[in-house]
């Protein structure tokens, strides 16, 4: 491999000499020590391992990363500006596209922010349906991760399993909402529609299937020595540093931080009525991030099974005016989304649309730690670390 000493931008040297005059020097250099200057490698924006258009500019010393600089914004759609020109029902359509793998979970905190400001609350059955669909989108997102992560270390089979099992869950979501990816099913004050006939037994069967496929992933991936070699003690995120960077969700729990907004945040949905636990792993490496997500998939499937048993009947919508005007005020609502903490700071001035919305998306902060994590790792590990952090480009760029 040839290594080139690339100058940093802004200090390009002037080339004004005839290279032929220095040929004897080049010949002489063959016998001296090889040039080991840093090499700049561009990964992306279209690298298949980057899940979209994330570009990484890494400076390499041989096979080791000296520094890494993520370049984001290739998918920036300006949602924060757009929310200032849209009404509340229109905005739920937009925010479906932030984290497109778990769109339903995106809608919930925004809808709840509007509900808080309007001092209305969705009826119990709507809360249950919201929780079920949120957990289903969590399962769908994680199943894809469990397969995809295998793909990144060279195992193709788990990817097929992941896509296959996710499809069952997406079919469930589609049966209720009509949309596989962008349900847009939440309404301010409740939820659009009830479950279709026969859905509950179908869902129960799929959840049992999910639990079985989690065991499959356990055997196929977690127990695999190659997978362990590629992920154990790679890409370690220390607890304090992860929190200070704003890394959240499973990524932070994999560093041993016992913090889950479903349990530790202000009460939302019906998580306090369920019997479940928060999984953590002390290691903080790529492997533990995989392990925590695997456990959380199981936990979510169990939660859904519980909710199917104890779901109350009743209306689906609270009394809401036809034209939604949200009273003046400010509110911050954050929820535990599959990728981490998703929050909306909504400022309303009494109009049909918000005055300002700050969208706090999980992947943005999760990825901002990359320059720190990637320092000193080997090039092939970049891919596994990126995959184990599990980000969605729309969630970074908004």
């Amino acid at each position: 491999m040839t290594t080139t000493d690339l100058p940093t931008p802004g200090e390009l040297p002037e080339i004004a000499v005839d290279p032929a005059a220095f040929r004897h020097l080049a010949d002489a250099q063959v016998n001296v020590e090889l040039d080991t200057g840093d090499m700049v490698l561009n990964i992306g924006p279209q690298h298949p391992a980057t899940h979209g258009t994330l570009r990484l500019v890494v400076r390499l010393d041989g096979e080791r990363v000296v520094s890494a600089d993520p370049i984001i914004g290739y998918m920036h759609r300006g949602y924060e500006k757009l929310t200032e020109f849209r009404t509340y029902p229109q905005i739920t359509t937009l925010i479906n596209r932030i984290d497109w793998l778990s769109s339903f979970a995106n809608e919930v905190p925004f809808i709840q922010a509007a509900e808080h400001l309007m001092t209305i609350e969705a009826p119990p059955r709507a809360q249950y349906l919201r929780t079920i669909l949120t957990e289903l989108s969590r399962i769908a997102t994680f199943l894809l991760f469990l397969g995809e992560m295998g793909l990144q270390v060279g195992a193709i089979t788990p990817a097929f399993y992941g896509f296959r099992d996710r499809e069952y869950v997406l079919n469930l979501i589609e049966a209720v909402t009509g949309g596989r990816f962008h349900p847009n099913f939440n309404r301010i004050g409740g939820i659009k529609d009830d479950l279709p006939w026969g859905w509950i037994s179908e869902c129960r069967a799929v959840m049992n299937k999910t639990l079985a496929s989690c065991d499959e992933f356990d055997d196929l991936v977690v127990g695999n020595p190659i997978f362990q070699k590629r992920t154990r003690s790679i890409g370690i995120i220390p607890q304090e540093l992860g929190a200070a960077y704003g890394v959240s969700g499973s990524n932070l729990r994999a560093s041993g931080v016992d913090w889950d907004l479903r349990r530790d945040g202000p009460k939302y949905l019906v998580y306090d009525e369920l019997d479940w636990r928060v999984w953590t792993h002390p290691d903080g490496d790529s492997f533990s991030r995989y392990w925590v997500r695997l456990q959380e998939t199981r936990e979510s499937a169990r939660m859904v099974l519980q909710m199917l048993d104890q779901m109350p009947s009743g209306p689906l919508m609270a009394k809401v005016p036809r034209i939604i005007k949200v009273p003046e005020g400010e509110v911050f609502v954050n929820t535990e989304n599959p990728l981490g903490e998703m929050g909306y700071y909504v400022i309303s001035k009494g109009a049909t649309g918000p005055f300002r919305t700050k969208i706090r998306s999980a992947s943005f902060s999760n990825v901002s730690i990359l320059p720190w994590v990637l320092r000193g790792v080997y090039v092939p590990d970049i891919v596994t670390i990126l995959a184990s952090l599990y980000f969605i480009l729309g969630d970074i760029d908004r």
Partner: protein, 231 residues
């Protein structure tokens, strides 16, 4: 949970933890706190600009808020109207035209907003605000306290033009490096909305007998549909 649909439990302005956090912040920061208020349970503290970094330090070291959620900006200038009044276009919200300020007030147009949380205590979080005068949009950087502030401050810099003293490299994050202007400022126009009406409106065909139903007096939108269909 409410027993009947639509009924609400009164959300206290400050939840128990927020009262506790506020008391401790007041003891540490003293008169650096300009104003404080509650926002649906959370405490919103507006601090003096010269205490911006110190208040973060107090939150991190004194209150145990080890987790940075976000840093953002607010521009309190009224949203410029993109739809004429009385045009019947309800697709864009009509915002109030006078300048008003939100929870915990503001001294001027620009404000910095941040939220820090604790990963060790339940529902333990503080919302911090500070005012930046129009002619001097400087604030101290939080990067040395919360390394995650790096990207948030770069975003606030490019979207609002706020300058963070002590930030290692304020450069564009989302936008191309040659981009000019600060898109999230209220006076930065959303051009897509101004040059083209809301596409949803085009679908509304005029009822028979309504103005706009005639053959030659059609509005530009209707003409556009007809042209599109015949093409």
């Amino acid at each position: 949970m409410a027993e009947s649909p639509g009924a609400t439990e009164a959300v206290p302005a400050l939840r128990e933890q927020a009262v506790d956090a506020l008391t401790r912040l007041q003891a540490e920061l003293g008169d650096s706190i300009v104003e404080h208020d509650g926002a649906f349970g959370d405490v919103v503290v507006r601090v003096r600009r010269d205490a911006w970094r110190r208040s973060a330090q107090v939150c991190k070291e004194g209150l145990g808020c080890d987790y940075l959620s976000f840093i953002a900006g607010i521009d309190w200038m009224p949203t410029p109207a993109v739809v004429e009044e009385g045009s019947g276009d309800t697709s864009t919200p009509a915002q109030p035209k006078e300048q008003t300020y939100g929870v915990a007030g503001s001294d001027g147009r620009y404000q910095l907003l941040a939220l820090v949380e604790s990963t060790r205590r339940k529902s333990w979080r503080v919302i911090l605000k500070t005012d930046l005068p129009d002619d001097d949009l400087h604030a101290e950087s939080w990067v040395s306290l919360y390394p995650g502030a790096d990207w948030h401050e770069r975003e606030a810099w490019e979207m609002y033009g706020f300058v963070f003293d002590g930030h290692p490299s304020l450069r564009h994050l989302y936008l191309p490096s040659e981009f000019e202007g600060h898109p999230l400022r209220k006076d930065y126009p959303l051009l897509a909305r101004e040059v083209k009406p809301w596409p949803g409106l085009v679908d509304v065909e005029p009822m028979p007998g309504e103005p706009g139903d005639g053959d030659d007096t059609t509005s530009t939108e209707t003409t556009a549909i007809e042209a599109g269909e015949s093409a």
